[in-house]
Symmetry: C2
Subunit: 274 residues, 2 copies
């Protein structure tokens, strides 16, 4: 751990990236992202150390939180600046009352394109594919479930929202930093790339043809998730296998995060991963 | 449907219960609750008609929403007043921009105490028990999942938050109005009442003794859920069966809503309910 840098002025340019966090959430950050809370910071430090496509750039901590996370600060490279502030200054910087008192600025590193990435997946693999998931909570929940059931990767089409968005990252409990992912291209491009690499592709839908309990996964299996309202486009449901989570008739479909959890639980069980 | 009552003044005493909804959420309503959106209103009308422990008292609608829900208004008893307002008046009443434009005031009717209620459950029954669930989203999600997998009832201990709270009701997609529930007493009292009525009681915990996939449910089965952080008290885990949802080691536990969905999916499957 390097020297702690005290910040006494909310306008200090060294912590400018943490100014008015919520407003910046809306405008994007050109490859930077904000990690919030001790658990997510821990995942960021681990991902940085393992070279998993992200780096920690700088930290901003509530002064009285430093001692409690000193082990974590030791893991970070010594050239990552650690700024500390008292509560009034910290709140003036971020623009609201930041209870947790732990923030990091992360940077996304250059990653291989999705085709090359898919080529690196193991012979036995479980991949989650998100199609048009625009809700940050749902994206975060999908990663949390993917991690819980040992998925090897999450692939998102270009219409999905960014999983490194602060709220998604928080809801994922940092899993966005531990489960490898790519976000590019159309869902059809992603699924075609997977099918060409011997993945059996199962699209989840309330009207899926096969009860998920009857699905026999292949050594390489991909599970495709759409939005709650519209579901997956007919183009995808028609071209690949489709599966449904059984439920009582006449109700709205399950929440997408819960449906994902159930489908992953079932498929990971059938693949003997849990 | 009775006559539509136009409201031109946000201070009109006839719609006083809809004033500043969010603030009132925090202070309680003495047996009244707010139902928001068409889907929830539909569930309220159905519950009212079926005598399921609630009544619709009055409605407040955005004027241009009336035509789209006329079928629903026909279902409501003619003595339920239907107030209509233009958007600016409606927003001034509720205190924020109410996109959905559909609100109802509901009233909770007197219900039988939990012991008497448990005595009325069928010979084959699946019951969900919530213990110390204080998050409104989680309460709502539990009801949504309970409905999806055909649970006969939800029992909540007195430390759980109110499922008729506006946000819980919305997250449940109105299921709080379709799945019978009680909220009273301690978790131990509830579970003892169930055990005395021949329910096998399974407490869900990340450290549960039995893998949920190996649970053989009885004709009458109760599934007990605690909070994400603390989990269920040792007193309950020690006295009843405990089950775990399998997942990768070394991670935070699943979100309580997702864990509930998975456990209900598994148990409802084993009971051949779905």
């Amino acid at each position: 751990m390097g020297t702690l840098i005290p910040i006494d002025d909310a306008d200090d340019p060294r912590i400018a990236e943490f100014r008015d966090i919520r407003e910046r959430d809306l405008t994007g950050r050109q490859g930077r992202f904000i990690a919030e809370g001790t658990v997510v910071l821990r995942m960021l430090a681990a991902a940085h150390a393992a070279g998993r496509g992200v780096a920690a750039e700088k930290l901003l901590l509530l002064k009285n939180r430093v001692a409690g996370i000193s082990d974590l600060l030791e893991v970070l490279p010594p050239d990552v600046p650690v700024h500390v502030a008292e509560r009034d200054v910290l709140n003036a910087i971020v623009g609201f009352d930041l209870h947790r008192g732990v923030l990091a600025l992360g940077r996304r590193l250059e990653v291989s394109p999705v085709d090359a990435f898919v080529a690196t997946l193991p012979a036995e693999a479980l991949v989650v594919v998100g199609c048009n998931i625009s809700n940050h909570d749902n994206i975060g929940a999908i990663f949390r479930n993917a991690a819980a059931f040992g998925a090897d990767a999450v692939l998102l089409d270009e219409t999905c929202c960014d999983p490194l968005y602060r709220k998604s990252l928080r809801v994922s409990v940092g899993s966005v930093l531990s489960v490898p992912f790519r976000r590019e291209g159309s869902a059809l491009q992603l699924l075609t790339a997977l099918a060409e690499r011997n993945f059996s592709v199962w699209a989840l839908s309330p009207n899926g043809a096969t009860d998920i309990r009857a699905v026999q996964p292949s050594a390489r299996t991909a599970l495709v998730l759409g939005t709650e309202g519209e579901g997956l486009p007919a183009e995808i449901l028609g071209r690949f296998h489709s599966a449904r989570v059984p439920q009582m008739a006449g109700l709205d479909s399950l929440n997408v995060a819960t449906a994902t959890g159930i489908a992953l639980y079932q498929i990971a069980s059938a693949m003997k991963r849990v």
